[in-house]
């Protein structure tokens, strides 16, 4: 009886350990990754908002993004620059009459990174459901 209980506990611990490994892998924290690491660049809320908005629009201006994400000029430009440096978005500066205008577009690399991030989040939820 004791042996049976011991086996059951060992199985439970082993299952739990596998689950932990799977969760840590998808969250990018584990040593033995079962899935690619979490893209920290997109994971930040403001940058996630920028990429999500650009995923459903061919392009958005700085002011449109600012209104949509309800943020400040400084905050938006800092996060947009980080995405630009990673080549996830590209930025075009132009003049609309006499007014300067900044337009952002999602690059192919940015779209791929966004899709990978979505897969990552979905795999986290799936892994937890299988628990």
């Amino acid at each position: 009886m004791r042996a049976k209980l011991g086996t059951a506990t060992a199985e439970r611990i082993s299952k739990s350990r596998t689950q932990e490994l799977r969760l840590s892998a998808v969250s990018g924290e584990g040593q033995e990754p079962l899935a690619p690491a979490l893209d920290r660049l997109i994971h930040e809320r403001m940058r996630l908002g920028i990429v999500s908005a650009l995923a459903v629009n061919p392009s958005l201006t700085f002011n449109e993004l600012k209104a949509l994400l309800r943020t400040t000029d400084g905050n938006l430009s800092v996060h947009a620059r980080k995405l630009e440096e990673a080549a996830y978005i590209n930025c075009t500066k132009m003049f609309d009459g006499r007014l300067p205008k900044t337009k952002y577009r999602l690059t192919a690399a940015g779209r791929r990174a966004f899709e990978r991030y979505l897969d990552h989040m979905e795999s986290l939820i799936r892994a937890a459901r299988e628990k």
Partner: protein, 204 residues
């Protein structure tokens, strides 16, 4: 006096990983839905509908009776509906969002009731032979539908609805013979103008 206790930072709340992931996905969906309002209303489609309305106004003005003129506009309404559905679907496809995702669904839910009321009132007024109110009423109800559907969209969409309402109000207090001219100005002129603005600024 007792010394003040040092302020303690609140203990961090542990959120399960899957809840955080679900929250992130929710945030993404909501942002995409809100951002989608930039693309839900088709500008080029609206301008095309405006051009068909100009043609309808020209054909309607050559009809021998008011009733036949009204039939021309009803045929135009059917054509505009088909064009609208096709161009909304095309724009949603180009932006890679489902046709009835958040903004599309919200627009349809706001737009449909005034249009349905318009159809019922048209049938009632036609039955009673009172056709002189139709141009003003159509402009008013179309404007109401656009304001109501476009209240979740970019500002230019409800603004277009308000212009239709103003034109409809003017048509109601003007002589009945000006009705076709108001229809041409609204469904033709306003539709083309705002269609081009939307197409240029909000992704086609």
């Amino acid at each position: 006096m007792a010394p003040a206790e040092p302020a303690r930072s609140p203990r961090p709340v542990l959120v399960p990983l899957e809840d955080r992931a679900a929250d992130n996905l929710r945030f993404i969906r909501e942002t995409m839905e809100r951002a989608g309002s930039f693309t839900a209303v088709p500008g080029w489609g609206g301008a095309a509908i405006g051009f068909t309305a100009l043609a309808a106004a020209a054909i309607s003005s050559h009809q021998p009776t008011a009733a036949r003129g009204i039939f021309v506009w009803l045929a135009e309404a059917a054509l505009a509906m088909v064009l609208a559905v096709l161009t909304v679907a095309q724009k949603a496809h180009a932006a890679r969002v489902p046709l009835f995702s958040g903004p599309g669904r919200k627009f349809a839910l706001g737009f449909a009731p005034p249009m349905l009321v318009g159809a019922l009132l048209t049938a009632a007024l036609y039955r009673d032979g009172d056709l002189r109110l139709l141009p003003g009423m159509w402009l008013l109800l179309y404007g109401t539908a656009v304001v109501s559907g476009g209240s979740f969209s970019v500002r230019v969409v409800p603004m277009m609805g308000v212009c239709f309402i103003a034109l409809g109000a003017a048509a109601l207090i003007s002589p009945a013979s000006w009705g076709n001219g108001y229809m041409m100005a609204g469904f033709g002129g306003l539709q083309i103008f705002f269609g081009l603005v939307i197409a240029r600024k909000y992704g086609g």
